[in-house]
Symmetry: D2
């Protein structure tokens, strides 16, 4: 990749003294105001990504190139609970996502997991995603276009209850409240042996889904898991975990389709 900032670059500005303050900004905006002074973005053109400059009040800011993950986390509008990286990274691996795969998702939500999966199957694969709520459908559409994944995503404003088109799928990601109600539709649209991952926040939902997954020899390799991510204060002489952490996001339920006569 090009390592100079240009007039068309999108940069992630990180406050050097307080890294939690970070902003995704296009250089073409010209000026950017923070609580600690204004940054003249045009000064950055022609300089390397990673350069540290000062606001007019003397505060230091680094201008780094955003990763696709920074852009997902900072560059779009979210109106739903999103899948956290501790979960989405594990799911993407477990599903075995790779270039060229055809993946089904329901529901799209804000499009965060859609984008992560589109990135994983790009450039030759596709994520086909259903969202029944028109507001979220439009929001996700806008987000996915903004993130540049439109070529690898096909979005539909429809319900799973109406069936799944373009089957079979190499993998599926299911994120809606009562997936067991449509477990037969999900099973039918999966390729034989293909993996499916569900996310559900409560133990009651997990138990209910497991009833359907374990019944009738339809699925194998059924896993239930949860992930925890604990951050530490990065102080060399006083290394210790942060005081607080996220205690729960979702349970992950994974399975593979089997075919018995």
């Amino acid at each position: 990749m090009d390592d100079k900032i240009t007039e068309n670059s999108l940069i992630l500005i990180i406050d050097v003294l307080d890294n939690s303050k970070r902003y995704l900004v296009p250089i073409e905006r010209g000026k950017f105001s923070t609580k600690r002074g204004e940054i003249d973005l045009t000064e950055l053109v022609g300089r390397a990504f990673g350069t540290v400059i000062e606001s007019h009040l003397g505060r230091s800011y680094a201008a780094v190139r955003p990763t696709f993950y920074d852009r997902i986390m900072r560059g779009i509008k979210r109106r739903t609970q999103i899948i956290y990286p501790k979960d989405s990274g594990y799911i993407a691996l477990w599903l075995g996502l790779r270039d060229g795969m055809k993946v089904f998702e329901c529901g799209t939500g804000s499009g965060v997991m859609t984008s992560i999966m589109a990135n994983a199957v790009a450039p030759d694969g596709v994520v086909i995603t259903y969202e029944r709520d028109e507001f979220f459908f439009e929001l996700a559409k806008s987000n996915i276009e903004k993130l540049g994944f439109a070529n690898n995503v096909e979005m539909f404003n429809r319900e799973l209850a109406d069936g799944i088109d373009y089957a079979p799928y190499d993998a599926m990601f299911i994120d809606f409240r009562e997936p067991w109600e449509h477990i037969d539709i999900i099973w039918s649209a999966l390729a034989g042996g293909a993996p499916v991952a569900f996310v559900l926040p409560t133990t009651n939902q997990v138990s209910m889904l497991l009833q359907f997954l374990t019944n009738g020899n339809k699925f194998i390799d059924i896993n239930v898991a949860e992930t925890l991510l604990r951050f530490y204060k990065p102080v060399p002489a006083r290394l210790r975990p942060n005081d607080r952490m996220v205690a729960h996001t979702t349970y992950l339920i994974m399975a593979r389709k089997i075919i018995t006569d």
Copy 2:
């Protein structure tokens, strides 16, 4: 992807009653022996992936298509502690890996993380990886070829101390015992603003690395984290975590290069 098993397919055989028993087998082997009877693999040709067949002793086995992750976990020889999926999935996201990126790794070890990163940057990207130990270099080479990632990996049997060629890199993954000794080499070879992830098993190593990362305005966005993955018994009416779990694999240390005058 094709959904019928052919004479050239590689399949993952999973024991239906005990899913922890699983074997990666090429159909061309003809026969496969388990403790619970022999499986005639030729019976599977022309049938769908996911099909359940019986051994000659009547035990049921599902023949699913292995994901690339199954192949990494089951299909190669490992002689080192590997990076677990709970960690590698998170690292891949945090590094923002995607098609076309140029990534540096040191050391290669058994080639597991190399393969995961190669998968993430395929088809147009590359992972350049250094391994100083000749035994591991040869092992990883064989593994990476077997997994089909040879086109996206360039391996070198050399030390980091001799410098890093082909810089700058869009991202780096560092996995050896005393990375702080070569922190300047690592910094120099990173593109401005680019991310680097380290893995280290002990708190003493983390403290030492942090001393170098936090010194001299070379890095920003310094994070230390650990991930935990807890599995549950997938029994609908008696949902509960497994009795035991992995308590520790590695600490993750992440940072981005900055450039100050």
Copy 3:
């Protein structure tokens, strides 16, 4: 306490090089055989607790005074899943156990929690405990006598279904499979405002119990929690968690009785 070992002492022998090898032994036994040689216990008489001696094969062993907790963990027969110290310590605090309290328990099991609670309410308090299974009743009786808590425990081989005598109680600990079936009996026998702690291993049981606790203005301050205990390798220069840990023992459910008209 006396700090010399006498002929009547009970000692905990710990292998100095492998602390996981430990044995609770009365001095009066005279000789004690380990895989690494015989220990002459009579040599210890008149020496201080904590003294290190050698077996006849030259292996070092420390002879420490067992705490009451060592005696519970090592000195009795257990046939049930016990409450772990990570849980029992927290429960004892939450229940506010102290000298003089009158506590009810059901079921007794092997008597481990009974003993911990008896210790906490000694010398003037009492734990009244029900166990319907005659085998466990006899086992726990023998254990509690051996541990010296008989003066602070009254055991009954009976079912909760028949009601609870000697009410009201200052605190309760409930450890059997379907406590919701007798929630009215439990409520009636609790003193007004008094705390009760339940342990249940599955999420389904927790949900069911919560239905009963949250229904009808009978309880307040309802808490559900789980504890995790992670050990580290105690190596100064390579501090890190153990590779594996206990992932689950029980869920803790706590509440207090309220009285509404």
Copy 4:
């Protein structure tokens, strides 16, 4: 215990609809004002603990008997980081605290752990505790008197560096920044074979302490651990962990004194 509220009772008032709102109040105060109306405490006299009454604005409050732990958590002034119940309960068990023991503590801090240990060794035992900071010494003194543990605690406003009087001790709890500096004093004052527990917040401190504990055959049974406590939303049909939790309080380091010639 008496189960009627009297004019001299201390009660814990819990808001029935929001249990996190709770107040420790003596009945003799007469009136108690909340954001949701005034409570006439005199109405409670002669009624059972656990009774629910209404404020003048119609909000329901339960008046329960505070446990000693409620009084520690709500009834005293704290100016230091306290030991959490997830840790103090486990420590009390590991130290084997029981009636009659003589325990040493340094430093006293706000007196929370002092009180928990005093409760555990009451009525016949004693906690001797050192606090070098005069402000904390006075604070803890006031707290311990208020909690009614003065008979089982002897407090000294002095440093550990000056040695430990009244040795030997059956158990010790050490809570100050650099305990390794006085490890010989600690060792000398412990009874042979007796247990000591340390709390330290950073990994660097743990490593340093371990250097001293593992050196010179002074200690055995050296453990390093951390505890985690995760709460769940107590909703029967939607059981799930809370969104956030405490990620770190302290590391626990435990050992026993041994004596070699």
